[in-house]
């Protein structure tokens, strides 16, 4: 199926949204199985520059698996196999160097997971490219500062860059992880329920941050939280039991869903 074709069960997206940015990633008939269990079934989807796409659906519907397919992290799970094609800027991700792909398609996880090193080193680690000369600290400082500012953490940590990252609060740790992920200026930023382990104040800060990040990155966020999807996303994709049921503009999916299952889910009939 070509990228321009309409997805089964999806609405045709208005031109206004399509104009928001060009396609960054394209999923074409992607299926993922863990052994005999099908986790994602024949999903085709576009991810566009300059917009936030939220993947919603009940637990175990394949949202996280789909997200992990985009940076080929599913391959690290024993017994996982993938069918279909995933393209990044028109190139099959299989043909890209794995390290290169993951620098271009960065990821933020559910639990804040800074490395047990200093705040500075957490970002510097992401910036260092293997098999190249290690840049000195003076060379890295502006890049680290830039990443921390873009993640909205600079003002809080600028005086104490050498403090252990694990001493930060949960919300700060997650913003550090976002800074680490965007330090290499990736084209796509994947976020796997980035606020589920955080308090409401930290959640609000991350949501604000997500809306500013969309300017520079195509953002794909997995969330359980429908209200959050509504607040942060430009487009929403609803998944159910491994199928992509419906994808469309946020308001359309929430207010005028086409599919019955989507309607039931967003109305809270099941979760």
């Amino acid at each position: 199926m070509s990228a321009s074709e309409t997805l089964p069960g999806a609405v045709t997206e208005p031109d206004a949204v399509a104009a928001a940015g060009r396609e960054r990633m394209t999923l074409d008939g992607v299926s993922v199985t863990y052994g005999d269990r099908v986790a994602v079934r024949d999903v085709s989807l576009q991810i566009r520059q300059g917009e936030v796409l939220a993947l919603i659906g009940p637990s175990g519907c394949g949202k996280t698996t789909l997200l992990r397919t985009l940076n080929r992290l599913t391959e690290t799970t024993a017994g996982a196999t993938r069918d279909g094609r995933v393209l990044l800027d028109g190139t099959d991700v299989e043909q890209l160097e794995l390290t290169d792909l993951r620098r271009r398609v960065a990821m933020v996880f559910q639990q804040p997971n800074p490395f047990p090193m200093s705040i500075f080193d957490n970002i510097a680690y992401a910036l260092r490219v293997q098999n190249r000369k290690r840049p000195g600290r003076s060379e890295l400082v502006p890049k680290v500062a830039s990443a921390l500012s873009r993640a909205g953490l600079w003002d809080e940590v600028s005086d104490n860059l050498d403090a252990p990252a694990l001493r930060l609060s949960g919300g700060q740790q997650q913003r550090l992880c976002i800074a680490r992920a965007i330090a290499t200026r990736p084209e796509v930023l994947l976020m796997d329920e980035p606020c589920s382990a955080l308090d409401p104040v930290s959640t609000a800060r991350i949501e604000e941050l997500i809306s500013t990040l969309r300017a520079d990155h195509a953002v794909v966020i997995v969330t359980h939280n429908l209200a959050q999807a509504r607040r942060v996303a430009d487009r929403v994709a609803f998944m159910y039991l491994g199928d992509l049921v419906e994808v469309g503009e946020t308001d359309q999916v929430f207010d005028a869903p086409i599919q019955g299952r989507t309607r039931d889910y967003v109305a809270g009939a099941f979760g």
Partner: protein, 320 residues
């Protein structure tokens, strides 16, 4: 309604649980309680008796002269010299065995936990390590003797002019002793690795880092403590081992280097450790220097206790 009615009567019971006093216990529980205490105290008494006995005997016969002079053959005890060579032998052998066991143990654990493919090979490696861990050291020693007497390994010990390979040297004993420490280091590092959450690795992979880079930058800093703990535990086993040393170190009271460059010559040569010295000097061995045996046993015990205290400190810190 019923639930709300019973709630107030339950609340005080929860707030003040019944005092758990021995007086309220049944006879069987009391007997078991006393037996447990008695067993614990008996163990303490045995430990104190060993350490106390050795301390008294050791203090009686240990002096600076004994520690810093070479052992000598002699009919009278006063002519038998000191225990300097066994102390040096213990240190050299421990260093050599650890130098072999620690890198091998760490790398094996990293491979099994972080790669582990093909699965069958990883399982084979794990079984191999379990078998080595369960093999009596005397068996390891005999295997070592057969191995190091092979002409191809002649360079690692003394070779006679007729071409016979002696097969006993610091090299031979150190290599086989490393097998005693290897499973301990391996297990400690493997536990350390499995304790690191999977998401720590994924976070690194998701930044475009390879497995090797992840191991070096993210995992290794967290493995320092397991490596040190495993090494120190292994060190205790190496220091205390006797069977391998008796068979593979040649049991010469003095360190006798072979021809060759200084370090290599020493490692190709024979010697003794505190454990074999204690055996040789005691009535169980040649038996003509029991006082020296006590002095050596005291030093040996002190070394092992220091190592154990080090482990306690390390493991204690880990739990905090």
């Amino acid at each position: 309604m019923a639930a709300t009615a019973t709630a107030p009567s339950r609340a005080p019971a929860r707030a003040r649980p019944r005092a758990d006093s021995v007086r309220n216990w049944r006879l069987r529980q009391r007997v078991a309680f006393a037996a447990v205490w008695a067993a614990g105290l008996a163990l303490c008494a045995i430990a104190v008796a060993i350490v106390g006995f050795m301390a008294v005997k050791g203090a009686q016969y240990l002096d600076v002269q004994t520690v810093f002079s070479h052992p000598r053959p002699g009919v009278r005890q006063i002519d038998t010299g000191g225990i300097l060579d066994p102390i040096e032998g213990t240190l050299v052998l421990t260093a050599l065995a650890l130098a072999l066991a620690v890198p091998l143990g760490v790398v094996t654990a990293l491979w099994v936990v972080e790669y582990g493919r093909p699965r069958a090979l990883a399982r084979l490696v794990e079984s191999g390590i379990e078998i080595v861990a369960g093999t009596p050291d005397i068996v390891i020693a005999l295997f070592g003797l057969a191995l190091f007497q092979l002409p191809i390994l002649g360079a690692l010990s003394f070779t006679s002019s007729g071409g016979g390979v002696f097969g006993r040297s610091f090299f031979a004993a150190g290599t086989m002793l490393s097998l005693i420490a290897l499973p301990i280091v391996y297990t400690s590092v493997r536990e350390g690795l499995t304790a690191i959450p999977a998401q720590m690795r994924e976070a690194s992979w998701a930044l475009g880092k390879t497995r090797i880079c992840t191991i070096r930058a993210v995992l290794m800093p967290r493995l320092r403590r397991p490596i040190v703990t495993g090494s120190v535990l292994g060190m205790g086993r190496i220091i205390g081992d006797t069977a391998i040393v008796i068979i593979l170190l040649g049991s010469t009271p003095q360190i006798s280097p072979e021809n060759g460059p200084p370090v290599l010559g020493l490692l190709r040569g024979t010697g003794s450790t505190l454990t074999t010295f204690v055996y040789d000097a005691s009535p169980a061995g040649e038996g003509n220097a029991p006082q020296k045996a006590y002095a050596a046993a005291f030093v040996l015990l002190a070394l092992v206790l220091i190592v154990n205290l080090a482990v306690d400190r390390l493991v204690g810190h880990e739990r905090v």
